[in-house]
């Protein structure tokens, strides 16, 4: 870009690209393959209520490896990390509010008036 060449001409190189050795990429790639195999194997084991948790835990680890190494977030600071944090935060918003609906759907639709619930508690505490 023009701004890049101009800055370079002034002796300030704007971009310091970190060169990652191929061995690191290979190691990450093999780890991802192993994790994929693990996910497949786990899918055929019945862990009861842990089924989902284990599958998601492996998926999060894999995603983290991709983001940190393949997408270079491990070597970049500042704006790149802000973007990553914002994305994760937004994912959190989506999951939290969706669960806020899902987990409260069975709650009583017509709750007792506050007075009716609070007064006995206060009376119990005071007397």
């Amino acid at each position: 870009m023009s701004s890049h060449s101009e800055s370079a001409a002034h002796g300030h190189l704007m971009f310091h690209e970190h060169v990652v050795p191929v061995s690191t990429y290979l190691a990450v790639f093999i780890t991802l393959l192993i994790a994929t195999g693990l996910t497949t194997w786990i899918a055929f084991q019945d862990l009861g209520q842990w089924n989902l948790v284990v599958a998601l835990a492996i998926a999060v680890c894999k995603a983290s490896l991709v983001v940190l190494f393949f997408m270079h977030v491990k070597y970049n600071k500042g704006l790149s990390r802000i973007v990553l944090i914002a994305a994760v935060f937004w994912l959190g918003i989506m999951i939290t509010f969706t669960l806020a609906d899902e987990l409260t759907r069975h709650w009583q639709i017509n709750p007792q008036p506050w007075v009716g619930t609070i007064v006995p508690v206060v009376r119990h505490l005071l007397f």
Partner: protein
Amino acid sequence: MSTTATVENLPNASAEPQVNYLNARYGVKSWLLTVDHKRIGLLYLCTITVMFVVGGIAATMMRINLLEPQGALVEPETYNKLFSTHGLVMVFFFLVPSIPVTLGNFLIPMMIGARDVAFPRLNLLSWYIFATGCLIMLYVVCTGGVDTGWTFYTPFSTTYSTTDVVLAALSIFVAGFSSILTGVNFIVTIHKMRAPGMTWFRLPLFIWSMYASAIIFVLGTPVIAITLLLLGVERLLHVGIFDPALGGDPLLFQHLFWFYSHPAVYIMILPSMGVISELIAAFSRKRIFGYSFVAFSSLAIAIISFLVWGHHMFVSGESIYAGLVFSVLSFLVAIPSAVKVFNWTATLYKGSISYEAPMLYALGFLGLFTIGGLTGLYLASLSTDVHLSGTYFVVAHFHYIMVGAAVMAFMGGIHFWWPKITGHLYPDLWARIAAAIIFIGFNLTFFPQFVLGYLGMPRRYAMYPAEFQALNVLSTAGASVLAVGYIIPFIYLIWSLKYGPVAGPNPFGAKGLEWTTQSPPPTENYLKIPIVTEEAYNYETAPEPEVVRV
């Protein structure tokens, strides 16, 4: 003109035609392989104009059908396809891209004093991706259409619809990648490519609003892409995700869909607000009142827009407690929106106001956006929404925002920057007449729909009880007026390309870097990179306009 050092390099407007981005190269290939942000903006303008016509034809046929209670034109099944086509095409292929990809592409580098966007080839790629999405959608429309509505609600879309739902969803999936790439491009451009002296708080407010929209593009669009992918997976492979019969949850689809699609409304309106800030400052010849409040309200709207989606689901079976939270959060959006409206109004106060066509659109925007915004509060209230949800009140409300506000701003922006884009002036009298016709036609079309909705007429029906006919005829009559209002600018803008008087660098006497270079600009935008030394909208140092002010 103290903002830049380029002025002395500008040739005289009356001299020989200058080399600019339009005449620097000729031929179809020079357009299809261009990496110039200005040419790409024009490619987008042509594409979305075609899609606007397609969506408009569908709307016209719907309104004609609703002239009679039993339907005057088409079968109910065809009507379903018409409103689906209208919604899908207008939302995903006109409104969402409209201002960002045309005016945004053209103006962002120019306004910040850059020679292009950060990733010019990525910019061209995003047009090709968008055009591919358009072609897929047009193929769907030509081969039988889709009847799910633009919302693709499950389980109808995944199980019962017999139309080509997957291909329609694919078109949006593809076009979504164009949005993401454009958003990334804009964010990086605004962060990294600003001219010397162009600090964040010297940026035109258009840039702030484009920045906020780009954030929504990047954070929201992947969610709709994955949602439509899941829809395709369920429809084709019968994996239970949304269909209760397969162990899925239909409300999950609505959560995921609206997580993107409500912020998408702000993708439409935030750039419009940016345009309006520029227009009101230029035609009041004043700095925008409370610049930083207007700037931050754009970011506030972008953030809050992601917290309100549940208000689309109050009567869908969503938990009443989640509904309460979403209701309160929805009311919060009104605050930054009101900040903008009040600040624009305060800018007008004691301004040197003139009423050229762009300003008429801006003033129209103010009124229509206020009506659209305030009627949204009825729908954000749990109790009134029970009565109004699913009626024509909703249709009227979102058309006041999406057409009344967003399209008015788009038209205003096109008129304001047309001399810069093309180097030619259009006939201002005709432009003002068209703006008035659009305003009248729009209100005649959609105001009766508020009444129809309140009286209980449901949306998306091809037929209606006979007592609603008078208001429906009124609405259809308004749509005809509106159509005339859109056709007139199309004619005189095309006319102006050949016969319009040559525009100087700054026909409106406006502030902003883009007005300091020639019209049309050279391919590099600026012969020298400008150095910015003053705030935005410093109209005390503005040049006199070249066109006759009225």
